[in-house]
Symmetry: D2
Subunit: 423 residues, 4 copies
């Protein structure tokens, strides 16, 4: 059989091919774009990329660079230092608005131009040269994409000719001591950043890297820390699509960002990265058909932040006692992923056990994953059971709970198979 | 052992017991609240409730009623009719601000008073009497809580004495033809709604009902449809905590709502419902210690919308061929929950199989759950494999994929155990 | 000859009879107005009224009542008490906007509805009954008009049916403790005030009363104090014509106020009161043709606040010495009106005189008027000259400087003709 | 005697010498100003200047240059062309705010920096070099002051070091195609303009030039046309004192403008020009003591736009018939200034005359001035009387009504004395 995802994407493109909206025309390079181009790509957790339509067409990344450069700045400077200079509140404004906080002069968020210019200036530190900063940005975005990106010099040159508004914004944040460097150099760097060339596959991989807690699913590189991705995705959720945060969040429910050349990315944590491309823009400046595609994907595939996962079957698959070679074993077999909710139900089940000398076999062989909180919960359970008198034996053939140090000097024995065979 | 969640909650309360903020004092009943009260409750998917602190103290629900009455209005009137009258955009304003859209007069969102008054008026239809609407609201919130709630008549009477602002808001939306009924009766009903008495356990259950796609985890009642919950949670994410949507979403990442009596709810889809209580309010009007407790819970337990679940182990646990009684079986054993991402990887694995006459055993016995999208993906795979010539046999002992109709008249055989035993 | 002002007004109406704009239609009584009605009246300082067009048609005064009721409130309560409750800043908003100051809840100015409702409530004091306040307002506006005005009960009843917005505004200011009484009664009183019937002659006289420092030019009654008129005219200058204070002030330069029934008043201090009527309204809610008429009058007749009066000829017509019956007289003959500027030039001329025993004849027979400042300046000059040794004789046949007490016990002799005849 | 104005000003300074406010400190040159300096000057219509306090201290003109450069731009480009680029609406904002109209990008008014930068760029046309424009501005302001002004180069250099905000504003208006030239050159020119050195006498003369319809009272030069002054004064009335237009207009009632170095000008049409200086600024950025001085002058001297001139005595001093040498003359003697109101009363009196062959002597020898409207009214009266059969003889010894062409070929005979002597 053929994987039906390809067919599905093809079908979505067919159904979203309306002709509303207008191609951006403030520079010749954007005005010359073929308005009928349409492409989509999905990247899933293991790096598989599905694509349909004009997936080979490259276009300038424009404002879609903003969340990634924000991520680089957060990784470089730390959350606090960046928050001192750029806020995280939706402004309800268009992309090029001057939205500064009244008292501090901080740009309201990093997704509007004034915030993105500030964010660009934060990469690499105040002493960084323009050239070094540009290279760091290019290299950083390339790491997100998993291939070396390059600048479209014609787009860059053309944008610099109509850069007055961005120059105004740069001087403005400089007047508030939000950025330190030369305003013109900063704008030049920012405009280069926006002129990086990408296609929808790149966008899907970049988005999936954010959705995968910072690890590029193609290269395996940890591009930025997990906490950075959480911050970036949160800001995309409320500030990414301009002017109508609530509308996007209720209808689509995927953290997203659009660019004036017609691209959009969507990133649903842990699940999928999306890239779309279609040059016609709606009145908010978002790709009109790209928005439709995202809505379709969200609705068809249940890809919405607020979609409750279906209630899992019990994380504790079986528990009870087993007689084996004259020994009574307490037995608990867990299954599925262990995060907070599953951890809680495991602990609750373990709490039913009476204190006593019987050994306990805690079988993790059907557990698919354990996150940090699940890990701490399991270890705390192991600690308490040990203090209750039980010897705990972990059955963990795939090492889903490595280094099981429960504190107080307590470490369970670890085995790759059950101590009582298939008794 | 004792379940460590109780100890943990106790510890969190101890660490969040600062004394910043002031008790609301615009009516005597709120001013008389003991400022040192502090309580927290968690409700998990199966309805288990953990609580600590002053969990038995009841207080008026106040603005926390807003998301639930919004849910009732959505369920009664449908999303479109409600959107015609109340928007979903964050206003960046305080709770009692007049935030109407300029052209339409629509309140900006249902979490500010003017939107909540409108929402209240929508429950039960335009012809509904004041008394009937109040009873519908009381009964609806009781269904969310899983017990019969009642009004604090002293709070109600006192609030009516200082209701000028709410009366202004009601007349205002009436002047825009947003609500139809008598302004004074509408405000009276809204004030009764806000005077319903709850404790933190109620709040945790109510929040978990939203987080569990509308099904009350205690009573099993489907209080409102899943789509309604998605809408309500989305709006809570951006409009619930007043004035600083971005700050809350980045730092805490849990859709939430606060009330002036000191309560807060948090609802993380599929995972947990939280209720906190502490009467001292910060400058935004949110419970100061309640906010701290929510931040602690989010940070400690990884409870954040943007926390990517750890990358699951392959959804396809094993695949290959099995020789059994002279027959070559194709064999694929799935595991964990099957939503979009897992479904995609399953389809990709199945696409490796060559067309041919061999039967395929698709073993779901380690699958913990299948959502609607996962279900459609599995059925599409089954359909294509059948068209490729394979007979598909589903091994589904716990009925995780009921009624497996793949379309085109194709239905796989379903068994509760493997066709080839443990060959 | 016929006074050409009538012909001129007729000509202006002929040239301003365009048909742009729409009649207000939110109540049947206004919607039924004949859209082609057009009238203008001018009232000059001595009470002469010129009128042209449909000058006998009566219409409801609507918002034109606002400056006059503001004047009544100022006269009743004093400037400070009124300023505590209503500001004087232009809001840049439409007439029915909610423009309250953020911290205090004060309406921004008395020309928008929320400020006018507040102003109405201030007339007669907090203890005044609704009926008494309405009668005070009716009587006060009648005193401005110089005839007894009465309410159009059909307009009143109809407006009360769509009073939700005004009720909202009244509850709102009540919620800020800006007004004390019952919100519904206040709105009822305010709506009665707006339903008083007037014609353009009434409006011209009312405006001239403001322009004449509060003295009705027909009846001679001092309706309100001069300081009140200065305050009211200042507020009309910036807040009277909604949405475009600067445009009106630069183009027309006459303090003005419009009403939704089609009336406009203009009041140029000391010079003229204007009333116009034409029911079609422009997009700001001002009478479209009325605005044109005002522009014409301003441009044609130099009626603009910022028109510098032409430089007067010297206030000192002649000065020198006169020999008469063996006595050398110092002689100074003044002319024209004596305000600050003329007073200054007189004092400067007098300062040329050497100290000495010669008597001084200060001849005021050609002086047309002396204001308070001019009076103080002349008296100070007389005082100083007397101290220099001169006996000052005032020649003041028309008593333009009554009671010439110069302080320090100094009073010049006053005569009705020159002490030295026409020597 | 000594002119008491000097004593009065001295007294005002003594009573306004509080120490509230802070000296501007964003550049060293301003921070170094002696905070206790205090000066005031008045200039009256004939160019006499009174001064008190530190009247010889020079300081940079700063924002007080704005109305004068606005006047130069209006004179150069015409009102329409300037209005296309800079509005006239109060912004309610601080001096350095970004107040652009939403759709057009026009600065809201020429008194805020963004509007003043635009205004500067309009002087001399788009092709004008930076150097030429600076010289035109310097020369123009010198013409207002009646002496050659020069730039404080230290202030200029220092301001350029912190010019980021102004650079932002210049790039911003350039991005809206409001200005054409190079943004940096424009800011440099604007900063030079602000660094011109003046003292309070200069300010008083500059203000009086505006108040005297554009004619410098010292030099007699017509610096800009009268219509320009009307526009500039109107804008100063609502936009000159930042943040509180209504407060200033009601309390002081004098069109004014302040500068950050501590200067203030006030200009009351036809009456007086005021200059004050005191470096301590209030929270709006206006000189704290300067504001107090202006309030005192306004209140003490009745200098308020809305102060109605006292009702003049009849413009027609005497009328009747005179028998002289067998001829019956109609006789009318006018007095005082003839503007609209006086003209109206003259026409009304003349309208009492029956048609007939008697000659009419219209005696203007006591008339102090005739403005354009008064002139047109008198000539229309003469025309109508002539058509009624009367021969009109003008007695106009001081030529207050030159070139008395009444249209239709009608010109009255003009004499310098009465045709019937002193009969």
């Amino acid at each position: 059989m053929k994987v039906p995802v390809d067919d599905y994407l093809q079908q979505v493109l067919g159904e979203c091919a309306g002709d509303e909206g207008e191609v951006a025309d403030y520079i010749p390079e954007l005005a010359a774009a073929d308005p009928d181009r349409l492409a989509v790509a999905l990247c899933v957790a293991d790096g598989t990329v599905y694509a349909a339509g004009d997936a080979d067409v490259r276009f300038s990344i424009q404002s879609i660079s903003k969340p990634f450069v924000y991520a680089l700045a957060l990784a470089d400077r730390g959350q606090e230092a960046v928050l001192d200079r750029v806020g995280v509140e939706p402004s309800g404004d268009a992309f090029n608005e001057i939205s500064l906080e009244e008292d501090t002069g901080r740009p309201r968020n990093p997704m509007i131009n004034v915030g993105a210019i500030t964010t660009h200036a934060l990469v690499g530190g105040d002493e960084c040269s323009e050239q070094d900063r540009c290279e760091q940005v290019r290299a950083g975005l390339s790491a997100f994409a998993g291939r070396e990106l390059s600048v479209d010099e014609a787009v860059f040159a053309s944008e610099m000719e109509t850069a007055d508004r961005n120059l105004a914004l740069a001087h403005l944040v400089r007047s508030h001591d939000i950025i330190a460097g030369n305003a013109h150099e900063t704008v030049r760097g920012y405009v280069r950043q926006c002129a990086l060339l990408v296609d929808v596959r790149d966008l899907a991989v970049m988005a999936m890297t954010l959705a995968a807690a910072g690890r590029n699913p193609l290269t395996g590189e940890q591009v930025v820390p997990e906490a950075v991705c959480r911050q970036v995705l949160s800001v995309m959720a409320t500030c990414g699509m301009y002017d109508a945060a609530g509308d996007w969040l209720t209808n689509v429910g995927i953290p997203a960002k659009s660019g004036v050349a017609g691209g959009i990315i969507g990133a649903l944590p842990g699940q999928v990265g999306i890239g779309t491309f279609s040059p016609r823009l709606d009145r908010f400046g978002n790709s009109a058909r790209g928005v439709n595609v995202c809505e379709r994907l969200s609705n068809d595939m249940g890809l919405h932040l607020m979609s409750a996962p279906p209630l899992a079957v019990a994380a504790v698959r079986e528990s009870g006692t087993v007689e084996y070679e004259g020994q009574t074993w307490l037995h608990a077999e867990l299954q599925g992923p262990i995060r907070f909710a599953a951890g809680e139900s495991v602990l609750r089940a373990l709490a039913q056990l009476e204190p006593g000398p019987e050994p306990l076999a805690l079988d993790l062989s059907r557990v698919t994953s354990v996150d940090d909180v699940g890990r701490r919960m399991l270890l705390e359970g192991i600690r308490r059971l040990t203090l209750d008198g039980h010897d705990v034996v972990l059955v963990d053939p795939r090492d889903v709970l490595p280094d099981p140090d429960a504190g107080d000097g307590i470490r369970p024995q670890v085995r790759t198979s059950s101590p009582y065979a298939d008794a």
